[in-house]
Amino acid sequence: MNKMTKGAIATGVGIVLMVGGGGTLATWNQAQNGSMGKVVAGDLNLVPASAGVWTNASGAVIAIANYKVVPGDTLTYTQPLNVTLGGDLMVARLAVTGASAADGFGSNATVSATTLTKADNKVVAATTDLRPADSGIVTASTTFTFNKSTTDRNAVAASVDLSGIGYSLVQQAPVDSNNK
């Protein structure tokens, strides 16, 4: 074995020893996890909790498609809504949209402003700030009144389409919100 071969073998052994040492080429170092966790988004949702129901003045449930009102009748539409709010800074407002006039009934009938009421009977105004703790059922109620003061045959066979009434749940910007 000549000198060149011996030197190559010695170098190889040395490198193998270094590999066996597991990166001991570096100086002291230490790694640590950040423990930052996950960033989780909140939630905002508004869905009908069940189908809306019409009742007449005596409290009987009616099928509005077949029911014909007469002067003196008062019908109430009740729509339970399921409000979901999540997020530490979540603030939202629930409002009624597309309120209808009495249409073909003219001044012989009135459609009340829709009221929104929480399960604890507190009224939800358009300016009421709702927070995650307010999640749950909110009941929307609209009343149609065919005035008893209707005379002659006024408003006979009249109709008013109330399907345009809707509800919107809109998040309010957190106080320290960004501009993006």
Binding site: K68, V70, S159
Partner: protein, 197 residues
């Protein structure tokens, strides 16, 4: 020249911003969700009352399709010449044909009969009319039901939804009618008014 270019550029930027805002449609909003009401359509009932003649059975709606009040010519019993002191009878059935969803009771009322002479006649003053309510049209020709009724009085009946009420009329020629008015004729009008209760 420079300011003109600057104004043009500013205008273009403004248009671009407006277009962008219109395109994204309210993207300034935060989370929001809408739900429909499915409230449907509220429909008014029809106020439909019909009148049926006792004898002939002819029927008419009280309100005609053009909105005017209907006139129903009633036929009477004992058609022909009435002798002094005799009576003739007629009747009308009031039918509540509403399509109301809830209760819908109406009150039908006759007002005082109006007896008028035909041209050249002076018979009217010798005619008296009584109006009563009855359970059926068949009762109208029974003199006994008019016993308590006042001459030229009114009658009233309440009619529930899908129900019917009956008015009977007794027309009597006075026993003191002079022979000089024989062969003359008169018209009798009895307005009927129906109101929702």
């Amino acid at each position: 020249m420079k300011s003109k270019h600057a104004m043009k550029a500013a205008g273009l930027v403004l248009i671009a911003v407006v277009l962008a805002m219109l395109t994204v449609q309210g993207s300034y909003a935060l989370w929001n969700k809408a739900a429909g009401s499915n409230g449907g359509t509220v429909q008014a009932a029809d106020f439909r009352i019909s009148l049926t003649d006792t004898q002939a059975g002819s029927v008419t709606d009280m309100t005609l399709s053009n909105g005017t009040a209907a006139t129903l010519a009633l036929s009477s019993t004992g058609v022909g010449a009435l002798l002094p002191g005799q009576s003739s009878y007629a009747g009308v059935q009031v039918n509540n044909l509403t399509d109301a969803g809830g209760d819908f009771t109406v009150r039908a009322t006759t007002t005082a009969p109006v007896v008028a002479n035909n041209p050249g006649s002076s018979l009217a003053q010798y005619i008296t009319v009584k109006a009563v309510t009855a359970g059926s049209l068949a009762q109208c020709s029974q003199p006994a039901i008019y016993g308590q009724a006042a001459v030229s009085g009114t009658a009233m009946v309440d009619v529930a939804k899908y129900g019917a009420g009956v008015f009977c009329f007794q027309v009597t020629l006075s026993a003191t009618m002079p022979a000089s008015v024989s062969g003359q004729s008169a018209q009798i009008a009895i307005p009927v008014t129906v109101n929702q209760l």
